[in-house]
């Protein structure tokens, strides 16, 4: 219930009148001075200077905190106590609840509290009986609170307020500004009801659909419900109902397609699903109050595949120039993730590093096109090879994570040894494709089995090889699917990786099982030799790129040694070709074993950072980010890795472009870059706080501590510029 008059108009008018007349004495109605307790002044105040029978009157507990000290909101957060007010009113009067203004978020170490600092009024509305027959009334109040800086002191006070009874009342100018501020800070009830759903670890809150219009649904007079059209992730979240969601965590925002949803970790003291959950969303002095009820049957956007299309996938399918400002990534459900994983696997076939391997298998298929039985059997072996290797890598990843390792997808490439092994592998493959190596002796067996695809074992290991070479080419699709995979139970996660493998193997599998498809293959002929040689070049390109990754992870001298080892491998293979068997084997063994066994230590981050000094970005550290955010500075965070093609493409196309550079400079945005090329548990933790298991991740933090916005995984310069300009 609110006063019948617009609560701030009257005091403001009166203030103007009084300013021209005599200045108001400080204790006009014999008001006692404010009560001084530890670090706090308090008093009971009334909005008007008199009580009018039959109308309502607002009183309030007026609090002025010493600098740095605060008292608490109705939900105090991780510690603290709400301020309590007991009003004693004459018979016939009815006092309402405290009209809590929007609080401040008060972080204390790892905990977050909600409360007030500086000066605030906690208003309470009182209904005055129409048949009031008195000259004046006395309102009594008893209040207690906890006032804290870091240390806390409980306090209490008792107050009397005497007000004359009159036909008309005027606003009391002494408190007009404080009541006006408390009014501006009143959260307006939102239209519609939010929907709650729960997982083992999280609570998801779907906001009511944004198209809802403000209709005559208001039970309250004076506070018009507002549609939630302008809510965005920069609004702060305040749980009114305690013990349901984490107080400290910032919500992860999802775009469900039908509106926004927020995902929060459960509170440490979450005991049972609440029947009702109340919360505020606020930005500056504007706030909205929402009521949420659990959804029965459905499981929310994160589990409802069709409802919440992940924005990244949509962006990459529709091209990077998708319309509109950056939207929020949604966490897809398990079925959607499985589907995406199959699609992602399929897309992997087109990657420059995988395509040549696919050709190895296809070449076998071309020659076996007439033998349906063999085609099928080998397709199955190949699929088994791919799927089992994916499951093996995923199993290893999950096992390492279970033992506490901070790893994400792409973790293999964080090891320079593994990168060196890939360099050697791709180099030998390229030599073989180019026809520069005609293996002799025992090696010929392996080579021919692979190229001609005649044995089941070869088919299986071609599958293993395909998985191995696919690992650097994490397609954009896979970011979403694998992010979900790592948050799921182990069987579900393995199922997603298996689906990814299935997608990768699908083209070859289809050859044997889809009638007529094998017949569409071109006839075998001399062209195959030429095409094979052509494919050596994408392989060599992959070598060049991996070599650069290796150089980034280690040093220029280590990279040079690896290059020398490649020359040694080529020489060893040539020795074999001219039948100098033992020197050839010895040299090969040496050149392959040495780079793998004597892994150089990864270069220190500081060393790499020195090279970045001239660049426009700074190195990301949690401390630097916290420092900038505390100072209210806007920040762009880019989490990248040298082995992540998507990341490099985004940097080249969008982040390093003049458009983005100008936008960053114009807005004074700090650009922090985190490099996950080598393992970094702090970055892994940061990625996980956004529900990701891998790079890239782009986050924009607006100035003055607003909520961060996550950009899609495929960027355009324009999209980034718009996102920067929006903050």
């Amino acid at each position: 219930m609110r006063p019948l008059l617009p609560s701030f108009m009257l005091p403001v008018l009166l203030l103007g009148l009084l300013a021209t007349a005599a200045p108001a004495p400080s204790h006009a109605q014999g008001e006692p001075p404010a009560l001084r307790t530890d670090h706090l002044y308090s008093r009971l105040v009334a909005e008007d200077d008199a009580v009018v029978p039959g109308e309502s009157l607002r009183v309030g507990l007026w609090l002025r905190h010493d600098p740095e000290w605060h008292t608490y909101w109705r939900n105090p957060g991780d510690s603290g106590l709400p301020t309590r007010i007991e009003l004693g009113v004459p018979p016939g009067f009815e006092a309402g609840p405290i009209q809590w203004p929007i609080p401040e978020r008060l972080p204390v170490g790892p905990l977050v509290n909600f409360g007030y600092s500086h000066t605030i009024v906690l208003p309470i509305e009182i209904r005055v009986p129409a048949d009031l027959d008195a000259d004046s009334i006395t309102i009594r109040a008893r209040a207690d609170w906890l006032v804290c800086r870091v240390e806390c002191i409980p306090g209490e006070g008792e107050y009397n307020l005497v007000l004359p009874v009159a036909e008309e009342a005027a606003g009391d100018p002494r408190w007009a500004a404080d009541f006006a501020r408390a009014d501006r800070l009143q959260p307006a009830p939102a239209v519609g009801r939010a929907a709650l759903s729960f997982t083992a670890e999280t609570v998801e809150i779907r906001l009511p659909a944004q198209t809802t219009n403000a209709g005559g649904t208001a039970g309250d007079t004076g506070s018009r419900p507002e549609p939630a059209t302008d809510i965005d992730p920069q609004w702060l979240f305040f749980p009114v109902t305690p013990d349901v969601v984490s107080n400290a965590a910032e919500p992860r925002w999802l775009d469900t397609g039908e509106g926004l949803a927020l995902v929060l970790p459960k509170n440490d003291y979450f005991v049972a699903e609440p029947a009702r959950f109340e919360f505020l969303l606020a930005r500056g002095e504007t706030g909205k109050r929402f009521e949420a009820r659990p959804v029965t049957g459905a499981r929310g956007a994160a589990a409802d595949g069709a409802g919440a299309a992940p924005v990244e996938a949509a962006g990459s399918a529709a091209g990077a120039g998708a319309p509109g400002a950056p939207r929020l990534p949604a966490a897809p459900g398990i079925l959607l993730a499985l589907g995406l994983a199959v699609l992602g696997g399929l897309a992997l076939n087109l990657m420059p590093c995988v395509f040549p391997v696919l050709f190895l298998k296809a070449a076998g298929a071309i020659e076996a096109a007439d033998d349906r039985g063999r085609l099928r059997r080998q397709g199955l072996y190949y699929t088994a090879g791919v799927v089992l290797s994916f499951i093996a890598v995923a199993g290893l990843l999950l096992a390492l994570r279970a033992s506490g390792e901070a790893l994400g997808w792409g973790f293999q490439l964080q090891s320079p040894v593994f990168v060196a092994a890939l360099v050697l592998l791709f180099f030998v493959l390229a030599m073989n494709f180019a026809g520069l190596l005609e293996f002799g002796g025992r090696l010929a067996g392996a080579g021919q089995r692979l190229t001609q695809g005649s044995s089941d074992r070869a088919a299986f290991f071609t599958g293993v090889l395909a998985c191995l070479v696919a690992s650097p080419c994490t397609a954009p699709f896979m970011g979403v699917a694998l992010g979900v995979a790592l948050t799921l139970s182990a069987p579900a996660a393995l199922a997603i990786f298996a689906a990814l493998g299935l997608g990768l193997a699908l083209p070859i599998l289809a050859l044997g099982w889809v009638p007529g498809l094998a017949r569409l293959l071109p006839r075998p002929g001399p062209w195959m030799q030429t095409f094979r040689q052509l494919l050596a070049f994408p392989l060599l390109l992959t070598v060049a790129w991996l070599m650069w990754v290796y150089g980034e992870q280690t040093s220029a001298s280590a990279m040079s040694w690896l290059l020398a080892a490649l020359v040694g491998v080529a020489f060893g293979l040539w020795l074999l070709r001219i039948h100098w068997r033992w020197p050839g084997y010895a040299l090969l063994a040496l050149c392959i074993a040495l780079p793998l066994l004597r892994a150089p230590a990864p270069s220190a981050p500081a060393e790499r950072a020195a090279g970045e000094a001239a660049a426009m970005h700074e190195r990301w550290t949690p401390a630097r980010l916290a420092q900038l955010r505390a100072a209210g500075e806007p920040v762009l965070v880019n989490m990248t890795a040298a082995w992540c093609i998507t990341c490099l493409a985004n940097e080249r196309v969008a982040l390093s472009s003049g458009v983005v550079r100008d936008a960053l400079r114009a807005r004074g945005v700090h650009y922090l870059k985190g490099d996950w090329t080598s393992r970094d548990p702090q970055i892994t933790a940061y990625l996980e706080s956004f529900g990701r298991s891998g790079v890239p991740l782009y986050v924009i933090y607006p100035a003055d501590g607003g909520e961060p916005v996550v950009l899609p995984q495929l960027l355009t310069a324009d999209m980034v510029r718009r996102a920067i300009e929006k903050i």
């Binding site: 106590l81 870091v150 806390c152 440490d268 390492l400 390792e405 392996a446 191995l468 090969l588």
Partner: protein
Amino acid sequence: MTFHKTLGLALAFMLAAPPALAAEAQIGEPAPAFTLTGIDGRSVSLEDFAGQTVVLEWTNHQCPFVKKHYDGGNMQRQQAEATGKGVAWLVINSSAPGKQGHVTPEQARAIQAGWEAGQDAYLFDTDGEVGRAYGAKTTPHMYIIDADGVLRYNGAIDSIQSADVADIEKAEQFVEIALAELAAGEPVSRPLTRPYGCSVKY
């Protein structure tokens, strides 16, 4: 050189990474182990109390909520009743040096003696490692670990969140109830409650 040998070699190298550890106390799970130094300079480990029910009490003698339960006699009464029944009662101080509630062993002895407290040991967790492993948020914050070392209670000392001594007798004493349930071989009816008080001064 076959390709799968390269793969095998690469996987072998990847496995060489050392595992890290992360622990957070969960109801029904083994309670995080710890070894801390007490006011008498001796180290005390959780495993010293194997076979015994253990109560952990996080303290800060300057916190009004801790004072409420000691000034009102509630904490001492519960300590005496519990230890009388063979329960081990450990008081833990996680205040960092320079923060409120950080005391020397002599001061701690004087404070506990002044309150006539009856704990079995008063332990210093100055670096806050044990407090963080248990997720201790407030003083007081109470935990109960059963004879098998499993965490059975995590939360507030009682049901009325205030610093007012007068509220003690109106409140439900959660720790007392949980200890009685455990002694009777029953499951703890409210294993998780929100603790209240001052934040732990890590």
